[in-house]
């Protein structure tokens, strides 16, 4: 119990990362001793410079460890897990520098089974969103936990889709109590009910650019594979993919039109050897081959039958469903079918309410399965 507290204390100190903590604990014999290490020990065992060691000692002296720890553990709705605990995600322990402490809301159990990360750009196209939703829903239905970063665009779509049929885990680049971006507030509230929201950062940490690479490392670390759906040339999703390779995870990519800026990332990954994904089946097949999933599998898309099916699918409905295999704008659909746009709009909303089509971005629709 005490050890956890001191480990947590160590994680709050500046200039000390997970590697330094490991070295200090090994050198000093216990977490408590490591936490109380003087400047000399910090230099000798932690490999810190004199100035940094001074800073650590100073920060420690102003920290009311016992009081703060009590306050944290009594806080409702916030769980703390350290690498000393049994429920710390096992997969994350495999990586080179797992975070010593994770804060979470929800239950960590969903990370024990098969997990796949879906990542991509924030400014996603309707096409990218469509793919993400389809993958997320099918993987969720197959019992695979979908991991992502709760950012806008692809991340949010991945969480929302997998939440519909299964479980999802979100890794934050902020403190657990900061909702960022605000537009994801509903996801932030819905995810813990069946999945988990995780952050390696202390409560109250604001979104800072430096936090996000660390978050990406955890996203790939928690997953047995990373799917990149849409990413620009310098997207954070590509960083996640590189980290995944370092951590010995599989990297999959959904190809795109080379002229599309959002396809540069995944296409380049494929060129460099990532597995090309054409649908959820490809992901599952690959995961079976590498032993992360066991047969027999539920067929993708049959995870949940839409609740309210349209009573009698008339010819118009069939026609709409037939052409909506790819994301289309309402106006395009009207031109293709020759129907008045008012009819197209009302039919689409009725199909959307019936759970047969979904709106990806404003005005863009696609069939659910």
């Amino acid at each position: 119990m005490k050890a956890r507290m001191y480990l947590w204390g160590l994680s709050l100190l500046p200039h000390i990362g997970s590697i330094t903590i490991k070295r200090l604990v090994a050198g000093m014999g216990s977490e408590e001793a490591a936490f109380d290490a003087n400047a000399e020990d910090l230099k000798a065992y932690g490999g810190l410079s004199a100035a940094k060691a001074e800073a650590v000692v100073k920060a420690r002296s102003s920290l009311d460890l016992i009081g703060e720890w009590e306050r944290l553990t009594q806080r409702q709705g916030v769980g703390v897990v350290t690498w000393l605990d049994r429920d710390y995600p096992q997969r994350l322990l495999e990586i080179y520098d797992p975070p010593p402490v994770l804060y979470y809301r929800g239950s960590l159990g969903c990370l024990d089974g098969p997990t796949v990360a879906i990542v991509g750009r924030r400014r996603a196209s309707p096409r990218g969103l469509g793919w993400t939703k389809r993958l997320g829903r099918a993987l969720g239905a197959a019992g695979i936990t979908v991991v992502s970063g709760l950012a806008l665009g692809i991340d949010a779509a991945a969480h929302a889709a997998s939440l519909e049929t299964g479980k999802t885990a979100a890794v934050l680049g902020t403190g657990l109590d900061i909702v960022y971006p605000r537009s994801n507030e509903r996801l932030y509230e819905d995810i813990p009910a069946s999945g988990v929201i995780i952050s390696p950062f202390p409560l109250g940490t604001k979104p800072q650019p430096g936090n996000f690479p660390a978050r990406n490392r955890i996203i790939s670390g928690l997953s047995s594979a990373v799917i990149v759906v849409e990413a620009g040339k310098r997207s954070g999703a590509l960083i996640t993919a590189m980290l995944a390779l370092e951590q010995n995870r599989d990297v999959y990519a959904v190809p795109g039109d080379p002229a599309d800026s959002g396809a540069v990332g995944p296409n380049r990954l494929i060129q460099e050897g990532a597995k090309l994904i054409m649908g959820p089946e490809d992901v599952m097949e690959e995961m079976c081959l590498s032993g992360q999933l066991r047969l027999p599998l539920e067929k993708p898309g049959t995870g949940r039958v839409p609740k309210a099916f349209v009573e009698t699918p008339d010819s118009r409905t069939r026609e709409l469903l037939r052409i909506l295999t790819r994301p289309l704008h309402v106006d395009e659909i009207a031109v293709m079918t020759g129907l008045p746009v008012s009819v197209v709009n009302s039919s689409l909303v009725e199909l959307e309410l019936a759970g047969l089509v979904e709106q990806l971005a404003a005005g863009f629709f696609q069939r659910v399965s």
Binding site: R182, A308, D331, V341, N345, A361, G363
Partner: protein, 486 residues
């Protein structure tokens, strides 16, 4: 010796008759104006003196007191110049005092005695007509306006000398011929010029039919502004009474500067996004109607609504709901009419291409977040119809489209029926199917109570547009299309 002249002033956009009393007594020469005059009124002393001297009437070297009654009403503007000059002439005997009986006198004087046009002639004449004043002297600049009030004989004056001649019967008052009420409405743009954008056009038609507010969201160049400009062309033309109301507002706001015509076209105002609060809802030290009043019975179009200051958008809320603006100043208050239809256009993000299939968006997450915060204010909460437009695909440039006239026919029919509904002469039922759709939508889209009311109102308009007397499931479903989740 005392003389009395009828003048008028403007409060808000209404005219009020003022009695101008001029007293000449012996004493040190002086010239005083009392009765809540503003600076422009007080300055008329200098103009009147010079104009009278330069027109050969001479200015009496006696003690002059001019009273503007009722004394508690604020008087503003230079419209009293001519009336004061004629009053002085009557008071000192240059002009027979009873010639001024039953004549409303309007006009600003130049130093040489010529008469300049003034703002607000139309509402002032209407006030006079209501009070039974039979004749009026009106500056030549305002002749067009005077012709709109056919109950009053009008003497058109160009110079102080004309005015005296007119009163002495040396030239004639005329009954202005009521001009033909302009049947053709000038159309800004025609819907047939708008290529593609089927959903947005449909939304515009619904907005026109139900007087709903509309938000057009889309990348630059997709036709938002053009579409908005088409709206007056598909709205029913103004009735005579409405046109007169609109003309009164313009008479006050820009009368005397541009010739005013009675038009059946609905006003279309698109203030720039740098506009101030006073510019939009009216105000200033000498209160003037704002854009929202100039758009009365017409369309107020806010382009690039994301660029408007938040405070400016927030003050629009109350007037839009009430249909009028009340400005309270120290000692008095003014009410301007403001029954206008609000159309907003916005780029989906600072660079404009978010969600577009034509070009990529280059904004950072932070930029997006702050832009959205600015957009999703309390004003946008109240927009009935919200449409996301995409850029045009090449083939759409050659598509053909319905002309405005055809759409307007449908809109006018819908107006008629909706009017009957509002007057309780007709009813619109909600079908079971529609109720079911709404119930499911509330659950699935997590709609707020306000959103539900909005959707029902839009669904009603859609049903009426189709000629249905019942809101059906598909009407409600279509109404659900026109909402964005920002």
């Amino acid at each position: 010796m005392i003389a009395k002249v009828r003048g008028a002033t403007i409060l808000g956009v209404e005219g009020f008759l003022i009695d101008i009393e001029v007293d000449i007594s012996r004493g040190l020469p002086g010239f005083e104006i009392v009765g809540l005059p503003d600076v422009a009124v007080r300055e008329s002393r200098q103009r009147v003196r010079a104009a009278m001297n330069n027109s050969g009437f001479g200015f009496p070297l006696q003690r002059l007191t001019v009273n503007l009654a009722p004394a508690d009403l604020r008087k503003s503007g230079p419209a009293f110049d001519l009336a004061i000059a004629l009053g002085i002439m009557a008071a000192c005997g240059t002009l027979e005092a009873d010639l001024l009986e039953g004549v409303l006198v309007l006009g600003e004087l130049s130093l040489d005695g010529s008469v300049r046009g003034v703002a607000g002639v139309l509402p002032m004449l209407l006030a006079a007509a209501e009070a039974g004043v039979p004749r009026a002297l009106v500056p030549a600049d305002n002749e067009e306006e005077a012709a709109l009030v056919d109950q009053i004989e009008v003497g058109i004056v160009r110079h102080l000398v004309d005015a005296a001649a007119m009163l002495e019967g040396r030239s004639k008052f005329i009954t202005p011929r009521p001009r033909d009420f302009d049947l053709e409405t000038a159309v800004n743009s025609d819907l047939s010029e708008v290529r593609g954008q089927l959903t947005a056009k449909r939304a515009l038609e619904i907005a026109a039919a139900g007087r709903h507010s509309l938000l057009l969201m889309g990348p630059p160049g997709c036709g938002k502004t053009l579409l908005a400009r088409c709206l007056p062309g598909i709205l029913p033309p103004l009735s005579f009474a409405e046109a007169l109301e609109v003309a009164q507002i313009y008479s006050v706001a820009q009368g005397g500067r541009t010739p005013l015509r009675l038009s059946r076209s609905r006003p279309f105002r698109s203030p720039h996004h740098s506009s101030t609060v006073a510019g939009l809802i009216g105000g200033g030290a000498n209160p003037e109607p704002g854009e929202i009043t100039l758009a009365h019975h017409g369309v107020l179009f806010l382009d690039e609504v994301g660029e408007f200051r938040r405070t400016v958008l927030d003050v629009l809320r109350q007037p839009l709901e009430d249909g009028r603006v009340s400005l309270v100043r120290h000692g008095y208050s003014i009410t301007y009419p403001a029954r206008c239809q609000l159309i907003l256009a916005a780029n989906p993000c600072p660079c404009g291409f978010l969600g577009s299939s034509v070009k990529d968006c280059l904004c950072t997450g932070g930029e997006l977040a702050s832009y959205r915060r600015r957009l999703s204010g309390p004003l946008l909460d109240r927009i009935d119809l919200q449409v996301w437009m995409d850029g045009l695909q090449a083939h759409e440039f050659y598509s053909s489209a319905e002309p405005s006239a055809v759409v307007r026919e449908r809109v006018m029919k819908a107006w008629e029926y909706l009017k009957a509904v509002d007057q309780g002469e007709a009813a619109i039922e909600v079908s079971k199917g529609a109720q079911g759709v709404l119930a499911r939508a509330v659950e699935k889209f997590k709609l707020s109570a306000r959103a539900v009311t909005r959707i029902q109102r839009v669904a009603r308009t859609i049903a009426v547009l189709e000629g249905s007397r019942e809101i059906d499931a598909h009407h409600l479903a279509e109404a659900l299309t026109y909402r964005l989740s920002l």
